[in-house]
């Protein structure tokens, strides 16, 4: 393939976390039995009128601020008109000319600034379900669920950048509690628009949009397939049409779905049933007060405060709940480095293996703090601490009890052994090196050297245990 240059923008839809829908009081839980969370308003019955759920406005403003946007103090709603069975009113209430927030940005790890053009509020549609008998059923539970749409400028040059951006957005929406942003649940959806051109100086090519990307993997692949498809077309001297493409996960391809609509086909006009949305300065101030420390701020602070690396700080801050758990657990610890390392090595592994988040652990942050204190005061060594932790994560007691029960406390012998082994290790660097490279028999040699030096003052068991740990 010739090296065509891709240019991409992303439209992200996120479901706003809210008990009730955007224009009525129905519950937003669309996993319930079909067509149970509906009312005349979200079903668009004749005569109904929308009234805005302020919680949604608040969250949209919060998201806008977290994404460095300017908040528009006077904004409003518009109708996007089109016919589709899952759209009860024959139009979607959204924002058109003046969105609630605009001109923001997100910075990627390569230092690149992705500009956010606008962030607006809108309502979701219902869901069409095709059953085995070729009937199409419609579930309106999702109709009227609040969404925010975040639109970037065409600033992406690779699928990797798009994926990282999605991760950043997800993190920010979760931190600010604007959205749960689970992609598998459809709470966060990304729709890239893509064009390619031959040279940097050329005009941007015709763009297409890809839909049905339900995971980060899908976003990555969908974009790569589409870049390849467009490049192939241009290379063959054919034309890229302005189309909406559909990603097919099973077939691993993108196929054209329909011609892309232009704005005038949607006959946008001001929603006459809703007054302008006036956002007061005081409202913005109150949102500011609720604004948590954002992921990037937290990472910078962690690097400074806990002396961790960039990557470590990313692991620790990937979820706000995990970061909070971490900070609670690390309280009043002197040997931070040792304990942070233990935390990073153990906790994410447990969460991953059980696919749970930190709130679902069988022990609390302060329980874990108790264990770290034992490590900190060196009453247990790291091997033992690992055993204690695995007991804790099965809900079999607290650190102190487990240490007691399993007799894992370091004895006087252990400390003496440590001192002595340190010397042996320093004195025999070659042997240590060879052991670490895999010559296991050298372990016996090192044990022998220790025994000789201890002259019977330390138990062989202690020497064995401590040496093994120190050689890790």
């Amino acid at each position: 393939m010739d090296n065509f240059i891709p240019t991409m923008g992303l439209e992200v839809h996120a479901q706003v976390k809210s008990k009730s829908k955007i224009f009525c009081r129905c519950a937003t839980d669309f996993s319930e039995k079909p067509n149970t969370n509906i009312c005349p308003i979200c079903m668009g019955f004749p005569g109904v009128m929308p009234s805005i759920n302020e919680e949604v406005v608040k969250k949209a403003v919060k998201a806008g601020m977290a994404l460095n946007c300017r908040i528009n103090l006077r904004t409003g709603f518009a109708r996007k008109n089109y016919f589709y069975p899952d759209l009860p009113k024959g139009y979607q209430i959204t924002q058109f000319k003046v969105p609630v927030a605009e001109n923001g940005f997100v910075i990627l790890s390569n230092g690149k600034k992705i500009r956010i053009r606008r962030l607006h509020i809108e309502e979701d549609t219902g869901k069409m379900i095709h059953d085995q008998n070729e009937d199409t059923l419609i579930d309106f539970n999702r109709a009227g669920v609040p969404l925010i749409e975040i639109v970037t400028e065409p600033d992406f040059e690779s699928s990797a950048e798009a994926v990282e951006y999605m991760n950043r957005i997800r993190e920010i929406l979760r931190y600010t509690e604007v959205s749960d942003a689970n992609m598998e649940m459809g709470e966060l959806r990304g729709e890239p628009n893509i064009s390619v051109r031959r040279n940097m100086g050329d005009m941007l090519g015709t763009k297409t949009e890809i839909k049905n990307l339900n995971s980060l993997k899908a976003i990555e692949k969908g974009i790569d397939f589409e870049i390849e498809r467009q490049s192939r077309l241009l290379k063959e001297g054919r034309e890229v049409l302005s189309e909406t493409m559909l990603y097919n996960e099973k077939k691993q391809e993108v196929i054209p779905m329909r011609k892309k609509e232009s704005a005038s086909e949607y006959r946008y006009f001001i929603e006459p049933d809703l007054p302008d949305l006036i956002i007061e300065e005081a409202f913005i101030e109150s949102v500011k007060k609720e604004m948590p420390e954002l992921p990037e701020e937290k990472r910078v602070r962690f690097i400074k405060q806990y002396n961790v690396s960039r990557i470590e700080s990313e692991i620790l801050s990937s979820e706000k709940s995990l970061a909070d758990f971490f900070e609670e657990a690390i309280k009043n610890i002197k040997q931070t480095k040792r304990c942070v390392n233990f935390f990073i090595r153990e906790i994410p592994a447990i969460l991953n293996s059980k696919s749970i988040d930190s709130a679902e652990l069988k022990f609390s942050a302060s329980d874990f703090n108790e264990l770290l204190r034992e490590i900190d005061s060196e009453s247990v060594n790291l091997n033992s601490a690992q055993i204690v932790l695995s007991e804790m994560s099965e809900g079999r007691g607290k650190a102190e009890e487990i240490i007691e029960r399993m007799n894992l406390k370091q004895t006087n012998d252990d400390f003496k052994a440590m001192e002595l082994i340190k010397e042996i290790i320093e004195e025999n660097p070659k042997e240590v090196e060879r052991y670490k490279k895999g010559e296991e028999k050298l372990f016996g040699v090192l044990v022998g050297l220790c025994m000789k030096k201890a002259k019977g003052s330390i138990s062989p068991a202690a020497i064995n245990k401590i040496l093994k740990e120190m050689l890790k």
């Binding site: 005569g47 109904v48 024959g90 006959r267 049933d273």
Partner: protein, 461 residues
């Protein structure tokens, strides 16, 4: 049928809500005006029964307890069919009630039935109803006006005391003029629209039709005011004041001769008590085009929900979505409704909706012009309609001619000002309404002025 007459009959124990209701239903059947699409006998008798007991105990809920209401069939009453005068909703039962309906029922009002209307309130003669035309009770060979033709006829024929209609460009006032009753369109933002099937959301208002101004006022005080379901309501209030200076036109070129005569006489009548000021209203011509663009654009969107998917007329025969939509909407809507949807869709599509944007600028212009007029005067007095009631089929072949019926009424919707039509007299036994227009949110003072004018005109015969 006046509210005070009914109440005094209850007090004197001459009648009960049940006996009066019997009489009303008998008369509806006997008169055969086709003013009702649905009669709500079940709920009416139940409400009448409770009202009767309250009156017997001497504990009525309000001064409309036991008073009979008809409701235009584009306003929702829970569990009652709401057709909007259209085939597409001919079997639609509303699952909820409009705010105005709830307020009326909470005060003891009894709902007699749902009244006939032009399809989706588009029309000025009630001839576009899928349920057939309504006969004018004044003379049954004439139309009752529209779109709230059934509502005005029901009040004029004593088939109800009060009717709740809707007024987007004159739909309450013009039929009131044609049937010789009072029709009041409040300021947009005074009465909740929740439950009123939208025709043109930025212009639609609930309206009241009654025999007297006092009765309109009574009901207005019950239905007006804040409603969590309608965010376009306004809490603005103008202080009450006495009207002194009244503006009038010294010539209305397009008006029929009898209309001009009656108008001239009524202006003369007012001269004793008010200072009459000649005014100009040059924006009337553009108000018609502005009105057409606005209503057609908004209606093309408001009526999109009638697609045969969720409720109303359905089609089982379509092979695909497009065929289903075409079958349902092609069969379900009448020609006037289709015409307006198509034109509105064109207006919104063409050049990114520039006509619609333009219509808002014209609306601002008209509102400004009216504000300027009101700097000098307290109220405008003009005829409600350019014509007296006309005969069936006289104008149906010319939509443009029919659209001109809104000439003297649409501007008050465009400028969001209150207006009330009162019968000004008769020519050849046909009634002619005179319209009083007030300042925005000046509804209370306007109604007071209307009561005075009503008295003066009655005294002068």
């Amino acid at each position: 049928m006046r509210v005070s007459d009914i109440i005094s009959k209850y007090r004197a124990k001459e009648e009960t809500p049940i006996t009066l209701l019997d009489g009303i239903y008998e008369k509806i059947e006997k008169d055969d005006l086709n003013d009702y699409i649905s009669l709500t006998k079940n709920i009416a008798y139940e409400e009448a029964y409770h009202s009767k007991i309250r009156h017997e105990k001497g504990m009525p809920l309000s001064d409309i307890d036991g008073v009979f209401f008809s409701i235009k069939d584009n306003i929702a009453v829970e569990n009652i069919r709401m057709t909007c005068g259209s085939k597409i909703l001919s079997d639609f039962i509303s699952p909820y009630s409009a705010t105005v309906v709830e307020r009326i029922r909470a005060k003891g009002g009894i709902i007699v039935g749902k009244t006939n209307m032009d399809e989706f309130a588009m029309g000025s003669s009630n001839e576009s109803s899928y349920f057939g035309p309504v006969k004018n009770p004044v003379d049954t060979s004439f139309v009752p006006g529209g779109s709230s033709g059934g509502s005005a006829a029901s009040v004029a024929a004593s088939h109800a005391c009060i009717s709740i209609g809707s007024d987007t460009g004159g739909s309450v006032r013009q039929p009131s003029s044609f049937c010789g009753v009072v029709g009041f369109k409040p300021t947009y933002g005074e009465v909740s629209r929740y439950g009123l099937t939208a025709f043109s959301s930025s212009l639609d208002t609930m309206g009241i039709i009654s025999e007297t101004v006092r009765d309109s006022k009574r009901v207005f005080d019950i239905i007006r005011g804040e409603d969590a379901h309608d965010s376009t309501l306004s809490s603005k209030k103008a202080g009450k004041r006495d009207y002194k200076r009244v503006g009038y036109l010294d010539a209305i070129p397009q008006a029929d001769k009898p209309v001009e005569e009656i108008y001239g006489k009524r202006i003369e009548d007012l001269k004793k008590d008010f200072e009459l000021v000649k005014i100009k209203m040059d924006f009337i011509d553009i108000s018609i085009s502005t009105y057409q663009i606005q209503t057609m654009c908004e209606t093309s969107s408001n009526l999109a929900r009638f697609d045969g998917i969720k409720y109303g007329l359905q089609s089982k025969s379509g092979k695909n979505l497009r065929e289903i939509y075409s079958a349902v909407r092609g069969d379900g809507f009448g020609s006037e409704v289709k015409r307006r949807i198509l034109i509105g869709t064109y207006f919104l599509t063409h050049n990114e909706g520039e006509y619609y944007s333009l219509s808002f600028r014209l609306r601002d212009y008209i509102a400004n012009e009216i504000d300027k007029i009101f700097e000098n005067i307290d109220a405008i007095v003009i005829p409600t309609s350019l014509t007296l009631p006309f005969k069936f089929n006289e104008k149906t072949s010319s939509p443009l001619q029919m659209h001109l019926s809104d000439s003297l009424t649409a501007f008050s919707n465009l400028a969001n000002v209150p207006a009330i039509s009162i019968n000004g007299g008769y020519s050849n036994n046909l009634p002619c309404g005179i319209q009083l227009v007030g300042k925005r949110f000046d509804d209370d003072s306007l109604l007071e002025f209307a009561e005075r004018a009503e008295t003066i005109w009655r005294e002068n015969g």
